[in-house]
């Protein structure tokens, strides 16, 4: 690996006042500074300072939790960019999708990323859950974190489902119509719950607005909160479950 | 080690960039498919001449105004052509009309035969037809001319880049 010039450049960068104002610690070379790097950082301090070496092995987790979270990050970034071009109105929403495809630079790419990541996130969330189950990761003291995980699974499904309506094309409209029709099978309150979800008896502009607000504001906020709890509890519940066979070679 | 690495990176990028260089194949359009209207060749009914919008407008005007004396059969049956002396040329008679310039034809139609030293039996249409309608008539007569009217410019091709 290249040393010398690049390292010297990094050294001089670290010596600047600006760098020092941002990163108060020196290079993370000792365990102390490494610990500081973790708990001195808002984002990293959700992680424990130390982790078991075994839990780092790919076969232990397949990094499914991390990947799910990273997909959430990708979705947030692309989602915010997409929001710049989108009006939750009928039929403007559909026209915005057309403009995204035909006019906006990288618009198709942006939408592809968002859609793919969304589908992938549903997959990884399920996979993550099954994996944790098989490894017995729900066992005490992780019970509560398992419940948080189940809620996050439902949130992911709702996020994906509410996003499904936003293109306002035939696929979206009928998928949501079919899905919400199931709600009316609920005894007594089914019809009312559906009315509440759609803001009407039919999938229409009100439903689009509701789904948009849920998709872009409510559900992501709740998800961020619960993801934070989820991470936090992994640390507080004593780290990832490690099994004897993870020792590997 | 790092050479192989660079090569691998390069190859991956190459593969990833491949979809960006999609080709746009332009199939040669069939004249009859893209035509606005068609007209059977007067001398050979098996053959069909494709007409564009302008020529089709000319065809419509021809069959309203001119067919009576410039064709041997009319929508109403017999033609007046044989009644007129000197006999008017058939509109598709390339031997006579291909040699005439666009301007000359425009003058004959709009000002009448007498204006260009021909028979006054050809009435002026300058106050009946608009200039672009006369232009369409000329385009039509060029399209169905037999022998074929040779255009001075090269025929249109679909755009194929440089």
């Amino acid at each position: 690996m290249p040393t010398g010039a690049a390292d010297r450049a990094l050294e001089s960068l670290r010596a600047t006042r600006v760098w020092k104002s941002v990163f108060r610690r020196g290079p993370a070379l000792t365990n102390r500074t490494r610990s500081l790097a973790v708990f001195g950082n808002l984002f990293l301090h959700f992680l424990p300072v130390k982790v078991r070496e075994k839990s780092l092995r790919v076969r232990a987790t397949y990094y499914l939790g991390s990947i799910t979270f990273l997909l959430f990050v990708v979705l947030s970034v692309t989602g915010v960019l997409l929001m710049f071009y989108y009006h939750p109105a009928v039929p403007q929403a559909y026209r915005d999708l057309k403009d995204l495809r035909f006019v906006v630079s990288n618009g198709v790419f942006l939408r592809n990323l968002h859609r793919l990541a969304a589908h992938l996130m549903v997959v990884t969330v399920f996979w993550h859950m099954f994996h944790v189950f098989y490894r017995g990761g729900y066992k005490p003291p992780h019970e509560f974190n398992w419940v948080v995980g189940v809620v996050l699974l439902l949130l992911t499904l709702f996020l994906s489902y509410t996003g499904y309506l936003l293109p306002w094309d035939q696929l979206a409209f009928w998928a949501i119509t079919v899905g919400t029709n199931i709600i009316s099978a609920m005894p007594v309150i089914g019809g009312r719950v559906r009315y509440l979800a759609l803001g009407g008896n039919q999938v229409g502009e009100n439903a689009l607005l509701r789904f948009y607000v849920l998709h872009c504001v409510v559900l992501p906020l709740v998800a961020v909160l619960l993801i934070a709890v989820h991470f936090w509890r992994v640390q507080k519940d004593g780290g990832l479950t490690v099994k004897e066979e993870d020792g590997g070679k | 080690m790092s050479r192989r690495l660079l090569l691998a990176v390069f190859l991956v990028c190459l593969v990833a960039a491949a979809p960006a260089c999609r080709k746009q194949p332009a199939p040669a359009p069939d004249a009859l498919v893209s035509a606005y209207d068609v007209e059977p060749d007067w001398n050979d009914p098996q053959k069909v001449v494709a007409l564009n919008y302008r020529q089709a407008q000319g065809k419509r005007l021809f069959y309203t105004n001119c067919v009576w004396c410039h064709a041997d059969a009319t929508p109403a049956g017999p033609s007046n052509r044989s009644n007129v002396t000197p006999t008017p040329p058939l509109i598709n008679d390339g031997n006579v009309l291909n040699g005439e310039s666009e301007e000359y034809l425009r003058n004959v139609i709009s000002l009448g035969g007498s204006a260009v030293g021909k028979s006054a039996m050809m009435p002026p249409y300058g106050r009946t037809l608009r200039p672009e309608e006369i232009q369409s008539l000329i385009a039509y007569m060029r399209a169905i001319a037999q022998p074929l009217y040779q255009q001075s410019a090269r025929p249109g091709k679909p755009y194929t880049g440089r």
Binding site: A28, Y94, H114, L116, Y138, P140, E143, W146, Q170 | -
Partner: protein, 236 residues
Amino acid sequence: MAENKKIETGFSSDVLKDPKRIVFVTKKTSAKVTGDAGRQVMTFPHLVLREAIAFQILVIAIVLVSLLWDAPLEQLANPLLTPNPAKAPWYFLGLQELLHYFPPFVAGILIPTLVVIALVGIPYFNINIHGGPLWAKRRTSQLRMVLIVLSLLMIFLAIFLAWTVFVPSAAIAFLLLYSYSVPASQTGWRGFLRSRTVSWWVMTWFIAVAITLTLVGTFFRGPGWEWEWPWVSHGG
């Protein structure tokens, strides 16, 4: 939770009287906060670096797929024009497939609710706390129990003609019964099957059914929710 344990926990209810707190940590009540479990390493940089690599590989993968595959966009929504079949998003197609067999209340409300309750309840019902294999003890009575449960399930599915549920259930049931006959000394996948726990079997059955239903709903259902091979395009 350990209701039938004959252990006196030293947990006094009167802290003023007896300020000592002693907790017996048995295997059954273990929180599994095992102190050993191998070496520990610093999160930074070991975990952070690995996560960074995971993130980069993930983004590379989805970017490449996004470049090659365009997200579908169909015609403008038209409430008067019902596609046949109208399908929900893929992750609900398993439910939609169930709706084909069972009444809407059962398939649309009851089953999903039960699944969610079951998932939430898993850690609180001592499931798999022992980690003991199904066929480890009391094999005959276990087998009797398993056979009763399996036949009830199969009869239920057969009554509703829910054969897309029946087939994966039957496959798992077959494996389950097969694992009974595997001798204890076996290794490899047979031994693996033999040593599975009840909860493993239940979850595997659930996953198998869910995946089958989702696949069938996504790829094998055509107009009128009739069976259709994905490579045979229907007219119109």
